[in-house]
Symmetry: C2
């Protein structure tokens, strides 16, 4: 099928895809397996932390009022009547001028209202009884970690959609989550297309290249929190292709094809979409690389037709597939995190289309500088290895100069961004700001 | 055992630990499982990419010399004698004024030396034969992706110890790595200690807290590239403890205990180290939190005695355990990535010890700003959830002001830093630099 293609703007393309986003379900897994997953529910404190007033130090629990007149010249002597290890509770009433030896984390005994650190007292013995001497005064509340001081019962400690990091794992354990509610990973199928493709273990042949996109996308799917499923390669036969795509769609939440299925000038994919009764959302985007990106929808399920070109495929995935995957994972921030950096080189040549340049972000003197990684021809695979950002260069009639502020997409980030507002427009006054900085 | 503890400097402590670092072995896994692992060998290009001169565009392969006199007024007509799809090869000789229809990625046929893009020609028919009209001149080499242009055979595309990201996965596939050499994950055992600890599914009891550190560390181990093994909790019985630690050591590459095993004032761990014949490298570090950190070595195997305090435990792991794990993984960059940021708040109170403050790094106007996440009392677990950096505040007699340059440790980063030089010293002139910026 020879098809006409009218490019639409990147933001419009993202918008069209997002109309079909839907949330996935929540499942329950063991806390030991939770690292790196996405919280499927809010993490709520079901009790105060600490649950009781406790000692932050090794020392002695005392009654502050016993020390009111204590000084270096007139120290007070307090009798040590017991000791409390962490995990123990002391239930005797504490009387005037008594103290209790207390370990870090142990509950403050009733009647005590302050803690003196171990190193601030002198231990003495009188008539076979143990005393401490305190040579300054304390106020009620000194050196006590109060109940609820860290976290009040009912607090949301991490929101649904958060990436489970070591800190959240600690919170889950603190609040007794032996099982953790996590968002189910979306199943994302990957179908390679292109008669020039060799399997990874086939010997090289003239005119052919190994299928690298499938494995790249598999990693991108995992990074975005999904489960990638390699579904093989489409043949050159239209009917077989159609069957293959139709059955693949049943198995997955999202389906990605890379490359065009072409015989001569003809690309089968548009015909397959038509035969499926799929609704094509767009088939060309005003961006470089990745202009030949098609997204279609069939019964609410999205089919992504990414370019066979590695860079275009990479960018197409991050811009169009990732947001709906993050939506499925119930993340509030759908988009790759976007932040401002300083451009590290000149891009003198203007381009009418928004460019996404593979780059490396480095820190210099408290600023973030983004530079392209090596060559940026679109067929180049080697510069993807060290890329940790995509530098966004909105289309226009002028180039970009070193030192200009630019937006970057942080590829390795798990936090994400809530919006892509103004990301693909040239920021007004960016040149003035650059001059101001020079 | 009541032990005397003499604090040493953080850098000295790291140094002593690193004396016992050793490399782990390399194993071979399927490329489908390689994402997120660490390369166990250099990734070498075993052929040029592209392997042949190829077309970067859909268009027509031509002989540039046929277009020397072509212009809008005097276009040349070239006969289209064949077409080459991607993956095909055209082996006929191309004669004067002939052209071949060529798809993106297809090899340039012998005799041709330039490609004209599809949209730049007009197709015409003469006597049943197909021609294109070209109305400008081309030079040899125009629009050709040359053999080896992307990558020359023999190039190291990613070094041993690199984190396998989607770009590296693409390279692995391109170069036929169906099996990928990766560093074996170090096995890191985690033993909880402390009679105040409840198992995660036990109901709360007065004076007790749930064991959250084990799960936090498990996640930190995974983030650092290791395999965490929960080995349960040490009892209060010295002999049982000793047996438990001794057998645990056999199973793992590194052993972590958290908290002290104490009965009253006594901590069993020093006695266990002695009984094991372990060599204690240090038992106190001049830092906050985490001053009570012990590292010992037995027959070349490291035992980390981290504090029971969650923040101290977290910091102790990143500073002391992570570097030897990364060494085991054959990574050149052993340390958590450290970069410079701008301090977002005042820390007016000086501290003689180096502080590591849980923080969040944000981007603002091309600069990185680091602010503490909530409270920073050392017992506080909730501020760990949103922390993505540790802010390093070297000890000294003065506090820190908002706007000052500070070093931050990037907790979620996989790239790491090669060195910790000058990280824990107050940078000379940092205040002058701050003033300069104001």
């Amino acid at each position: 099928m020879l098809e006409s293609r009218t490019p639409i703007k990147v933001e419009e393309a993202i918008d069209r895809v997002l109309r079909y986003k839907k949330k996935g379900s929540t499942e329950s897994i063991a806390i030991e397996d939770a690292y790196g997953r996405v919280l499927g529910d809010n993490l709520l404190a079901d009790h105060d932390v600490p649950l009781f007033d406790r000692s932050p130090y090794d020392g002695f629990a005392i009654r502050a009022e016993d020390t009111t007149y204590a000084s270096r010249e007139t120290p007070v002597h307090l009798e040590v009547v017991s000791e409390i290890g962490a995990g123990s509770v002391y239930n005797q009433p504490i009387k005037e001028n008594q103290a209790v030896r207390i370990m870090t984390g142990a509950p403050i005994p009733e009647g005590c209202n302050a803690v003196v650190m171990l190193e601030l007292v002198k231990n003495i013995e009188k008539d076979g009884r143990a005393f401490i001497t305190v040579n300054r005064s304390f106020s009620g509340g000194d050196n006590i970690s109060f109940r609820g001081e860290d976290t009040k019962k009912g607090t949301i400690l991490a929101e649904k959609g958060s990436h489970i990091n070591p800190g959240i794992a600690a919170l889950l354990a603190t609040f007794g989550y032996k099982k953790v509610p996590v968002s189910r990973k979306p199943k994302v199928g990957v179908l390679a297309t292109g008669s020039e493709l060799l399997a990874i273990d086939e010997p090289l042949q003239p005119g052919k290249i190994r299928n690298s996109n499938s494995y790249m996308i598999l990693s991108q799917i995992e990074r975005a929190g999904g489960e990638g499923i390699l579904l093989g390669q489409l043949s050159d036969d239209l009917d077989l292709c159609f069957q293959h795509v139709r059955s693949a769609l049943q198995e997955v939440d999202f389906l990605i094809t890379t490359g065009g299925v072409s015989v001569g000038d003809y690309d089968y994919l548009p015909e397959i979409y038509q035969k499926l009764g799929a609704n094509v959302l767009f088939n060309k985007v005003g961006m470089r690389p990745g202009s030949v990106t098609t997204v279609a929808e069939k019964d609410g399920k999205l089919l992504f037709g990414l370019s066979g070109n590695p860079s275009a495929c990479y960018v197409g995935f991050e811009l169009f597939v990732r947001p709906v995957m993050r939506g499925f994972l119930q993340c509030p921030n759908l988009f790759v995190r976007n932040e401002e950096a300083v451009l590290g080189v000149d891009f003198p040549k203007p381009n009418p289309f928004t460019r996404f340049v593979r780059g490396e972000m480095t820190f210099s003197d408290g600023r973030v500088v983004a530079k392209p990684t090596g060559l940026d021809k679109s067929g180049v695979v080697s510069s993807l290895a060290s890329a940790n950002v995509l530098i966004v260069l909105p289309g226009g009639t002028r180039g970009y100069k070193q030192g200009m502020p630019v937006k970057v997409l942080l590829l390795e980030d798990q936090q994400g961004s809530f919006s892509v507002n103004n990301l693909f427009q040239k920021s007004i006054g960016s040149e003035e700001r650059m001059q101001h900085r020079e």
